[in-house]
Symmetry: C2
Subunit: 681 residues, 2 copies
């Protein structure tokens, strides 16, 4: 028999090494870079490091593995495993290697768990939070030894966890001595960034939670997560109470400028809202607020200014100076937030002007900077934030789309609420529309014609107006059906009962009087079409400006972020010319990616550094003053576009689009665009 | 003519170098390590860098110096100098070298000013505070440049002052944008530890103040300083309001243990007191509280626990575990202290158990660790803190002297207030005393015998009791006059009208009935003598224990710290055997050295590091459990001592003391000590 050292293989990673007899499986794993979770550092308290020994002969791995190749489990280990219902497992901290073993590390024992984000492309997040709990046993005070209890705790943390240069927050220091005595000098310490002790509990404790918050102008959404497992425990949202001071950003900025206490009022309103939301989300998850140890906040720049109590007036006009662009850590108590007394709030950085931490959140979630393919990411709102790029270069811009996509400035526009028309199809021959309203499952052509038919057949919800996604589809379908021309004007030669003329102002009857709640028809007017053209042109021009700067002719992936983006049908958005040409199945709606990004930064502290790097790398293009933007804007007023081609829509579009734009043809096209602008103005 | 570079010499340091023509005097000075103050970094705003050019031929220095060897002063420089009344000076930042110059740097222009501490030996303190103001001009925001105002300020601070890795406190960030616009992008920035921006002012601003506070069990003393000049602007003190919860440390610790809200109440009381004291000291100095940017706090360990809101119960019994021994920085707002919103509080470290930050303050002021001579430093109170050592080694101890020195446990004892007998002399032949009371200038033997004599001749203040210094002198003089024997017992054979016997309990009549306010005589009883013996023995034994540990037979310097120490007459203290033998003129009373130490740490941030090093170096000896302490205590009950010699008192003491203790004679002496103990018990 040879005296070679025992061979240990960890599955599923397959990492293998020969180790000194007598080392614990936990030590062996660490030596091989296999991360096994452990909170109590081998004190037989947490049970997090359980593993299963595969028994038998494994020729492929070249070993015979047996539980007998480990030291037998102690009474304490057997009891803990039995209590956990894992009697067939071992605790890696307490099983010492004496011969060859093949060890299976179950998912829940792997130190850095992974969660799946619902996303365009499913994303895996390594859980590596800024806040973690560690268990230590601290030397007792004795005469002739004078370090103080905090000194002794520091020594224990250095020895057992390799943590040095720690500081302790005052509320934690106040708990230290009672906790030590209560827990017989065993403590669970809550650490922030491995730099600061922010809380401690007597004995063994499990339960550190974090909050990701997306502060939108209209809605504030909060996500409560378990910081150890990464699990999303509860989501709640509420109206941003600042809306009483102004519906949109500019009116809130005005409010701050016009009222001496305006900033203070709006700041207090959002802090109060966040406290309420925290209470609600904690209650839903059955978590104590005092166990919330960190929050990551994203929002547009105005929201972030107000959240921090900073006057946003400089964002009201050029040069749009931010008070601060960088990521920041602030004690929650300094903001009046009622989490744990020692909790910190991390603010993601902003990019520039009106492209804020929420957009950085979107980028953390969508990671265009980590891929070769050129992504175009669009977050549609009153301002659209647009990012274009890949791992080599990144550009961003903000484009003033105005509120048309939110249903404002549209004759029968409304928010995406019950009764809103959200889907539209128009028969190209008869010009007859069918539509779907929020709150009724059937399309309108399945509704009974006869209002006297049984109530059970009547739609649950009649049409009340058109929301953003509905108006996009309506205008796109009107274009496909030949009701409007590429320049947006109603086809003057079209005879249809669906087109009504009020003098020279035409309109399309989308819903007839008996399909609506008001018993008045719902129309899409020439002016509505014009407003949608202007909004989509601003967005398209922003995207195009970035493509020009990046020197790319096409994008390989389009991401529609934000709640609104989820409802847009990519095909209709492209037919309208809201987004440039792209393979249709490479256009994704990803929902609240900003909130996802906040959650990612909450669960993985490295992502905060990544966020800062993104901000430092990204080139922000100021659309407002760029002459090229004006030119692109004018060209983009056309449906889908005055000159750009949409090869992926070739089978759908009524007229073959003009030849693809080339460098040489630029001036010619510009002239053309100007002519169109004159027609279309 | 040679092309050698111009020679620049700075006086009074005499530093010299040849420099490139065209460099400013300020740059030249920095290159040579000559520190010239400058706040505005050459903006012709602060005028702090004024220098005088010595005109004439200086053969000793080997140059001809002339104002013409500098570029002429600009209009702006001339105006600023005229406004300052220094028309004959130049500003070093604006005078560029073109030829040889001899430059005199006036005291007020030297960057690190020095202040003199009233002390045993006068001490010079380099002013190098943690808080400083710097003036910067920040780039204006412009389109296409997106760092944010804080980013631009960081760039300006890096470029003009070499400051990097700065963070900004939230209250300062909130002021940033308005201050920039108000000050036309010129700012004065208040920095803490060159790490954090804690405040800012539009334009040029001067005025950063700091507070040093000594939190005593009885008295809280505050010192307000100008952080730029080091000047002490005002001193105020008040009663520690915690006295209502207990006179001494142990009763306050008991209060904390007996009442659930005890810690909270005492914490709030001291914070409120400190806020009141701050308001008073600021008013006296004419300084706004919002311009107080830092405080350094010292106090005994119980006071520091309560100041921080920490439960002091662990200090109530062995092993006397401190919550924290280290120095700490805490935001003043987290303690409820009303300084500037961004101000920090620095806590000096403690040594151990009951030897706290106040003693560390004493060491910073007295610097035994920087000298070769062996110092013994004694801070007398209910507990005496004792430090012994020099640059090579340091020992400390706390000795339970009890309250006798404060006039408690003395039949006619009282605090050092009006009417207290503070000085005593006894005629060795007649045994008649004379004394001095607080509030009356004349010694008692000059008081008229006849109470009917004119009121203008009567003492302003009759005797009301004996204070600590008085009782020390009384007992020492009684010993010198042969009224009591070395073992403290009254001489049984002495016949004197001044010694009265109440059965077997003798007493000495220090003041007769007609010398006292109560018309009752003031006595020093056998029990009083015994209590003073126990107190002084505890102190001496502590000092002796440290001398034994240090292996030294004599000390070269004795420092009596604390208010009480100021009133003790060194000779009588030594006759009594309160302190070991030493040259009498090497015994110093230094007053509130703890407060001085706090002030030193406030004015010089390096001293905080020094304090931490002291604490890590000093060896704390636990007297309470040391058998050797008990032995030394017993031997020290004798007046002046059972075995130690006092060669410096040879001409005064009645009996030649026993031969100096030697290593060989130790056991013999110990036996002897035990016998004495049996007698004296």
């Amino acid at each position: 028999m040879t005296s070679s050292k025992p061979l240990v293989i960890f599955m599923p990673s397959g990492r293998r090494a020969r180790v000194e007899p007598g080392v614990s499986l936990l030590e062996a794993a660490r030596g091989m870079g296999v991360e096994i979770e452990s909170i109590c550092a081998g004190r037989l308290t947490c049970g997090k490091c359980k593993v299963r020994i595969e028994e038998g002969v494994f020729p492929k791995h070249g070993l015979t593995s047996s539980n007998d190749h480990l030291t037998p489990a102690s009474q304490a280990e057997r009891e803990l495993l039995a209590k956990m219902g894992d009697a067939d497992c071992r605790l890696a901290c307490s099983a010492y290697v004496q011969g060859d073993v093949l060890v299976f590390v179950p998912e829940e024992s792997r130190a850095h768990k992974q969660i799946i984000r619902k996303s365009a492309t499913e994303r895996v997040i390594e859980v590596k939070p800024a806040v973690r709990e560690v268990y230590v046993e601290v030397d007792k005070a004795r005469l002739g030894e004078h370090r103080g209890d905090w000194g002794r705790l520091q020594d224990a943390l250095a020895e057992e966890w390799g943590l040095t240069d720690l500081r302790i927050d005052l509320p934690a220091l106040r708990k230290l001595q009672p906790a030590l005595r209560q827990g017989d000098h065993k403590l669970t310490v809550v650490l922030w960034q491995d730099r600061e002790v922010i809380d401690l509990h007597p004995g063994y404790h499990e339960g550190a939670y974090g909050l990701a918050v997306d502060v939108g102008s209209t809605t504030v959404a909060a996500y409560l997560c378990d910081l150890r497992t990464g699990e999303l425990l509860a989501t709640e949202s509420m109206m941003n109470p600042q809306v009483v001071y102004g519906e949109d950003l500019m009116s809130r900025i005005s409010y701050a400028m016009m009222h001496a206490d305006g900033v203070e009022k709006m700041h207090k309103a959002i802090i109060e809202a966040m406290n309420k939301l925290t209470a609600r989300v904690a209650k839903t998850a059955g978590v104590a607020r005092r166990n919330i140890y960190e929050a990551v906040i994203v929002g547009n720049t105005t929201m972030m200014h107000l959240f921090l109590g900073l006057d946003p007036r400089e964002l009201g006009g050029a040069p749009f100076a931010l008070a601060n662009r960088d990521g920041m850590d602030i004690k929650a108590r300094d903001l009046g937030l009622r989490f744990h007394a020692g909790a910190n709030v991390h603010i993601l950085p902003a990019e520039a002007g009106h492209v804020g931490a929420d957009n950085v959140g979107v980028l953390l979630a969508e990671t265009p900077h980590l891929h070769d393919e050129i992504s175009l990411i669009v977050d549609v709102g009153t301002n659209a934030e647009i990012v274009l790029g890949n791992r080599e270069r990144l550009f961003s811009a903000s484009s003033p789309t105005g509120p048309a996509f939110e249903g404002a400035q549209i004759t029968h526009g409304m928010r995406a609420a019950a009764g809103a028309i959200e889907r539209v199809r128009i028969d190209p021959v008869t010009k007859t529309p069918r539509f779907k309203v929020i709150g009724e499952e059937r399309w309108s052509d399945e509704w009974p014609d006869d209002p006297d038919e049984g109530a059970e057949f009547q739609p649950k919800q009649l049409a009340a107006g058109i929301c953003g996604s509905g108006v996009i589809e309506a205008v796109a379908e009107m274009f496909l059906a030949g009701i409007i021309r590429p320049d947006g004007r109603f086809e003057p030669d079209l005879k249809s009962e669906r087109v009504v003329w009020d003098g020279v102002r035409p309109a399309y009857v989308l819903a007839t009087a008996n399909q609506t709640a008001t018993r008045e028809p719902i129309l899409v007017t020439q002016e509505d079409v014009r407003n949608i053209q202007l909004a989509k042109a601003a967005l398209y021009a922003g995207a195009k400006l970035l493509m020009n700067r990046a020197g790319v002719n096409e994008v390989e992936r389009i991401v529609l972020a934000g709640a609104f983006g989820s409802y847009i049908d990519p095909k209709h958005a492209m037919i309208l010319g809201l987004i440039p040409d792209c393979e249709l199945d490479r256009v994704y709606a990803v929902g609240n990616a900003a909130g996802d990004g906040a959650r990612i930064a909450l669960l993985n502290r490295d992502k905060r550094i990544e966020a800062q790097r993104i901000v430092e790398r990204i080139r922000y293009i100021e659309t407002a003053v760029d002459p090229e933007f004006q030119e692109e804007f004018v060209a983009a007023i056309h449906i889908p576009h005055a000159s750009d081609s949409f090869p992926h829509l070739a089978h759908i579009l009524p007229d073959p689009p003009k030849p693809s734009r080339s460098r040489n043809g630029k001036n010619r096209k510009r002239r053309k665009n100007r002519q169109i602008a004159n027609h279309g103005g």
